[in-house]
Structures are given as structure tokens and as C-alpha cells.
């Protein structure tokens, strides 16, 4: 009598579909998630980024140097932002405004004609080794292609007419962990902070205790901030753990100010907590809060420059990425840890996180239902 009953089974199946349809948010996620991911990430993600901003330091502006720069442009891997002096070039790299600085030395043209292999200095921002590797391999080939038609010696010898000296700045050995570990800090914080606070309020609603809380004179601001603070502490503990591990296990350098790092981390934690609380005042139950967290988490992972080079993404994806706090946090953490940047250079990535937080806070307070209407 306990055999498999088809009609019973069908009953369960139908019930499940009905409940799925009723839960609008879940249903939306089922449809939205694949479409959004496919369109967004399919077009946006590019592990071989091109058009990387490059500054040129020209100590010997001659025809061959110009030809070489033109060839770099044509390769599509480089976008020449301008010709600058050596000091400015350094600042541009520090700020992360350019990925490469190419320096043509004094006597470049002369040495080339003589066949004495001039040295071309290429400084790359190697905080993300993946972003630079494609472009550097292209540079290696360019020499012969550009100069062979005009220089018979090059044609005959078949050897590289110039010597590329590549400085991988901030991460000379191109260790991926230097890029990934600081990034993970942001990813871990995004995940846990949003999820934990996201569940904090929906749990009250699900258990019916929310009504009790509303019946007290507590104001939305009191409830929201009161619920946020414990998680700030948890976040800071997480950060301390990751940083110690990064230092001891992965030997990630600590170039900048630890105090500045923690200040930046605190801001980032606050932004994520605010988002979590806002999610939970919108979501009806814990499941929905969890879904919203993932909905935000995925683009944060993929469009922030954590998994794939930020510069590899098309313009529109970079615009989306620039809204996400994680994008700026990654620049900040890499800047402080690997480059030793100070606040003066990083300010441009601090305020967007603050703006994000304030916007979300405003939304949260608006949606926090003071009454049960």
C-alpha cells in the first residue's frame, strides 16, 4: 500500500508549482537571474582586456618612436592617454589612472638605426597580473613588425630590434595572490555583512516579534543602527583574520597605513550593512532576503574587477561596476596594501562608497515600515 502513487506525486508537484508562482520574488529571480547573468556577464566579462590606458614618456621623439606608439595603438591593447614627464607618469600609475607607462630613452632612434638594441622601459601596474599579461605579450611581437620594413638589419637578423624591460610595479613577481587576497577581503565582507543583516530584520518579521518591536516607541533609525553595530564588530574581526592570514600565509605586502586601511574597511562594512538592513526591510521573509543578497553579490563579484580585469569590460559595464562599493574597495585595498597609497591619491574611490551608503540608507529608512500598513 506504500507503493509510488502517481496521483499523490502529481499532487505534490502541482502544489510546488502553485507555491512557486505565488512567491513573486522567487519567480522573478528564476527568470531574471539567467537572463541578467547571460547578458550582463556574457558581454561584460573579458579576461583579455584591451584599450588599457597608457602614458608615454618620450625622451627621444623621433620617427621610430612615433611609429612604435602608433603600432601600440593599432594593436588595440593600448589606449595612449598622453605624453608626460617621468614624475607625472609615476603619479598616474600610483593613482591607477594608467595601466602602463612606456618610456622611450634618450637616443632611442639613433640606437635603433645603428642596430644596437635600445631599451624600452615598460612599467605595468601589476596589482592585477591578469590584466597586463595579454598586452605585454603583444608588445614583445611589435618590435619586429614595426621596424622590419624600414630597417634592413632587423629584417636580416630576425632578432628583436629593441629590448623590452618590463617592470611589474607593486607586484614584481606577478603573484596572483597579491591581487586575489585583498580582493577576497572585500568579497567576504560583502557576502557576510549583507546576508547577516539581511536576515536580522526578516527574522523578526517571520517570528512575529517585529510587531512587538513596532509597538514600542523605537524609531526606524534606532532599530536600523542598533541592528547594524554588532555586525560592524564582526566585520572588523573578519578583516583582522584575513589580514593576518594574508601576511603570514601569502606574504602579501603591507605598504600603506594600517589605520587608513581600517578606516576604509569600516566605511565599506557600513555601506554593506546598510544595504543588508535595507534588503531586509523590503524582503518579506528570510528566503527573499537571501535571494536579494545573491542578486547583489553576483555582479559585485564579476563586475568589480575581482574576478576579471575591470578595464576589460565595456564602458556600460564599467559604469555599473563603478556604482558597486566593492569596485572602489578593491582599488582602495590594493592601493593601500600594494602601492602604499595615501588618502590623497585614494579619495576618488572613497566618496563613491559614501554616496552609495547614504543613498541606500535613505531608501532603507523610507521603506522601513514603521506601521504595518
Amino acid at each position: 500500500m506504500n507503493g509510488f502513487s502517481f496521483s499523490r506525486w502529481l499532487g505534490i508537484l502541482i502544489k510546488e508549482f502553485i507555491q512557486l508562482r505565488r512567491d513573486r520574488l522567487t519567480f522573478g529571480m528564476i527568470v531574471m537571474m539567467p537572463i541578467m547573468q547571460l547578458l550582463l556577464f556574457g558581454f561584460a566579462i573579458n579576461s583579455d582586456p584591451r584599450h588599457m590606458p597608457t602614458a608615454v614618456v618620450m625622451a627621444d621623439p623621433g620617427p621610430f618612436a612615433r611609429a612604435y606608439v602608433a603600432a601600440m595603438k593599432n594593436s588595440e591593447y593600448f589606449r595612449i592617454v598622453g605624453t608626460v614627464d617621468a614624475r607625472d607618469a609615476d603619479t598616474l600609475l600610483d593613482r591607477g589612472e594608467v595601466q602602463f607607462v612606456v618610456t622611450f630613452p634618450v637616443g632611442f632612434n639613433r640606437d635603433l638605426v645603428r642596430g644596437s638594441t635600445p631599451v624600452l622601459l615598460v612599467e605595468a601596474d601589476a596589482t592585477d597580473p591578469m590584466a597586463t599579461s595579454g598586452a605585454i605579450s603583444v608588445l614583445n611581437k611589435l618590435g619586429i613588425e614595426v621596424f622590419a620594413p624600414d630597417l634592413p638589419g632587423v629584417r636580416a637578423a630576425g632578432t628583436a630590434p629593441i629590448e623590452l624591460r618590463i617592470h611589474r610595479r607593486y607586484n614584481p613577481e606577478g603573484i596572483t595572490a597579491f591581487n586575489v587576497v585583498p580582493g577576497l577581503l572585500g568579497v567576504i565582507l560583502t557576502m557576510t555583512m549583507i546576508l547577516m543583516t539581511g536576515l536580522a530584520m526578516t527574522r523578526e518579521r517571520e517570528r512575529g516579534t517585529f510587531e512587538n518591536l513596532l509597538a514600542t516607541p523605537a524609531t526606524p533609525l534606532e532599530v536600523m543602527t542598533g541592528k547594524i553595530v554588532p555586525y560592524i564588530l564582526i566585520g572588523l574581526i573578519q578583516v583582522a583574520l584575513v589580514l593576518v592570514a594574508a601576511r603570514l600565509i601569502f606574504e602579501v605586502p603591507m605598504q600603506g597605513s594600517l589605520l587608513l586601511l581600517f578606516a576604509v574597511v569600516l566605511l565599506f562594512i557600513l555601506a554593506n550593512l546598510t544595504l543588508g538592513i535595507t534588503f531586509s526591510s523590503i524582503a518579506q521573509n528570510q528566503l527573499q532576503a537571501m535571494q536579494m543578497t545573491f542578486f547583489f553579490f553576483l555582479p559585485s563579484m564579476l563586475l568589480s574587477g575581482f574576478m576579471f580585469p575591470f578595464r576589460g569590460m565595456p564602458e556600460w559595464a564599467q559604469v555599473i561596476g563603478n556604482v558597486l562599493p566593492l569596485t572602489h574597495f578593491l582599488v582602495l585595498v590594493r592601493g593601500i596594501l600594494l602601492k602604499g597609497n595615501g588618502l590623497d591619491l585614494l579619495w576618488g574611490h572613497v566618496w563613491p562608497i559614501g554616496v552609495f551608503m547614504l543613498a541606500v540608507l535613505a531608501l532603507g529608512i523610507k521603506t522601513f515600515r514603521r506601521t504595518l500598513d
Binding site: 517570528r207 512575529g208 516579534t209 517585529f210 510587531e211 512587538n212 518591536l213 513596532l214 509597538a215 514600542t216 516607541p217 523605537a218 506601521t371 504595518l372 500598513d373
Partner: protein, 312 residues
């Protein structure tokens, strides 16, 4: 001379959720120290009405005051002076008894918090169990704890939403004794219930169905207002007797109370004649009884349903 000041005085409160008109033109006056019972079938708008009174819901329209504060504009002030006990246990099950009380005391900004909590624990007789998680309490104890937590801030008005649902008879009786004790100290109580014995313990009653307050007054007034005469039929009643009685001319409602049936109607002479005719020759006897509150409520409920389902 101190007249019984109206603690709750609202007129024309309305609340809609989407296209559902949950509370229609609710007008209610409750005086100080009164125990006002709120009755009505499930989904009739009792909870919504209570939530509007304590500022948890904003009425769509209407006006009035609660404890002298405007129900629309001063909901924050009302919250400070009202003790609201939710239908479902809404304290934190993963906090201990003492932690729950302490939290509520903090929310209301109690000046002498520790003393207040200690006294509440003592009054409850839970001092020795103060470290027990609230979730592990039995239904009766949860209810007592919930009541204690909404009394912490010494409210002048208690709003109790079906406080005794799922509580055993002994605990219910204790609970009501506590309510009467509180009312004697001048606290006004508005309580919703489904139980007739509880309704009879209230000073005044309001009956709400389909969002409308259909009757209000003392139990006797409500019974009288229905203008019913009632006969109790007892004896060897076979199956189908209630059905047969219901069809008799003059019978408006038939309700069974154990082995007896109450038949009520508006026309005394007609009902008596048809009942006598029906039981003649059967092993049944009839006697005139007082119309009970329950008869009156069932009549009210039937009337409202007829009105609701078959608009004239």
C-alpha cells in the same frame, strides 16, 4: 466630580487593504477603568481595529483620540502609554525571560529598569526561572510573560488581542482575575476574544462582523437588543431534529448546547405554538429560558451574514 473620561473615543475609522474594506466606520467609546470586550468571527477586523487604536496602523479615514492623543497624528505618543499584547506570542524566544523584560524596559526608556524587571519577575513568580529561554515556556506562561512585558511601562490602556487563545482553563481564569485586578487600579482594558464566558466578564462588549461594529453595550443590553425569546428543547432528540426545528414558523435560530437545543425567535406566541405542535407525541419537552449571550451573538452573526451575502 470626575466623570468617566473616555479613554478611547474614535469615530468613523476606516481601513482598506487593497480592495478589501477591513474596518468600516468604526466608532467606539471606552471609559476609564472599563473592561471592553471585542467579539466577532475570525477575520472580522478585530485585530486591525486594535492595531489602529495603538498606532501600529494608520486609519485611511476617520478621527478620534486614544488616551487624549490623536490617533492619526500622535501615534508615537500613544505607543508610550499603551500596552499591546499581540495575538501571537511576539517576545523573543531566543532571549531569556529576564532578557525579554529588560529589552522591553529599555525600549520604553524606563528610568529604574533593573528594579522594574525584578519586580515584574517577582510578581510573575518567575524569579527562579529568569534565565530560562522564553521559547521553552508553556502556552500559559508565555501569555503571562507577554502580559507582564506590556505592563512594564505602566500603561493606562491595555489592548489585548485574543490573549487567551490556546491557554488552558485554569490559566484563563487566573488571567481574567489579573485583568479585573488591573481594571480596579484604573487601567482601561480592551480585549478581543472568542469565548462567551470571557465576554460575560467584560463590563461592555462590542460585536464586530465584516468590519462593522454591529452592536455594543453591556451583555444584557446586547441580549435585549436582539429581542429574542428562547426555548430549550431537551429529551430524546433524534438526528435531524435541529434541522426540523429550524424550518418551523417563527424559529430564527437553533443552537445546540450539549443535549439540549436552544430555539430562538422574535415572535413569542408563534414560536411557542409551532414548537408545541412539533414536539407533541415525541419524547421531548420544552421550557422557556433566558436568551443567552451566545444566542444573541449567533443571531447577530447570522443577521450580518444575510445582510452581507444578500444585500437588499
Amino acid at each position: 466630580m470626575k466623570a468617566a473620561a473616555p479613554i478611547i473615543d474614535v469615530t468613523g475609522l476606516n481601513k482598506r487593504f487593497g480592495d478589501k474594506h477591513v474596518v468600516k466606520d468604526l466608532s467606539l467609546q471606552v471609559s476609564e477603568g472599563e473592561i471592553f470586550g471585542f467579539l466577532g468571527p475570525n477575520g472580522s477586523g478585530k485585530t486591525t481595529s486594535i492595531r489602529m487604536l495603538c498606532g501600529l496602523l494608520t486609519p485611511d479615514s476617520g478621527s478620534g483620540s486614544c488616551l487624549g492623543f490623536d490617533v492619526i497624528r500622535d501615534s508615537a505618543r500613544i505607543k508610550r502609554k499603551v500596552g499591546y499584547m499581540t495575538q501571537r506570542f511576539s517576545l523573543w524566544e531566543d532571549l531569556t525571560i529576564a532578557e525579554n523584560l529588560d529589552f522591553v524596559a529599555r525600549m520604553f526608556g524606563m528610568a529604574r529598569r533593573r528594579e522594574t524587571v525584578d519586580r515584574a519577575l517577582e510578581d510573575l513568580g518567575l524569579t527562579s526561572r529568569r534565565r530560562q529561554l522564553a521559547g521553552t515556556l508553556s502556552g500559559g506562561w508565555k501569555q503571562r510573560l507577554a502580559l507582564a512585558s506590556c505592563l512594564l511601562h505602566e500603561p493606562r490602556l491595555l489592548l489585548l488581542d485574543e490573549p487567551t487563545a490556546g491557554v488552558d482553563p485554569k490559566a484563563r481564569r487566573d488571567f481574567w482575575e489579573e485583568i479585573h485586578r488591573l481594571a480596579a487600579t484604573g487601567i482601561t482594558v480592551l480585549v478581543s476574544t472568542h469565548y462567551m464566558d470571557e465576554a460575560e466578564r467584560c463590563n461592555r462588549l462590542g460585536y464586530i462582523a465584516y468590519g462593522e461594529l454591529l452592536a455594543s453595550g453591556s451583555a444584557e443590553e446586547i441580549v435585549r437588543s436582539q429581542q429574542l425569546v428562547t426555548f430549550a428543547i431537551s429529551g430524546e432528540s433524534g438526528p435531524g431534529l435541529a434541522e426540523a426545528l429550524r424550518k418551523l414558523p417563527g424559529a430564527v435560530l437553533v443552537a445546540s448546547f450539549g443535549s439540549t437545543l436552544h430555539v430562538s425567535g422574535h415572535d413569542d406566541a408563534l414560536l411557542e405554538r409551532s414548537l408545541a405542535g412539533h414536539i407533541a407525541g415525541l419524547a421531548l419537552h420544552m421550557r422557556r429560558v433566558d436568551t443567552s449571550l451566545e444566542d444573541a451573538f449567533i443571531n447577530l452573526m447570522q443577521g450580518s451574514r444575510d445582510q452581507f451575502e444578500m444585500p437588499a
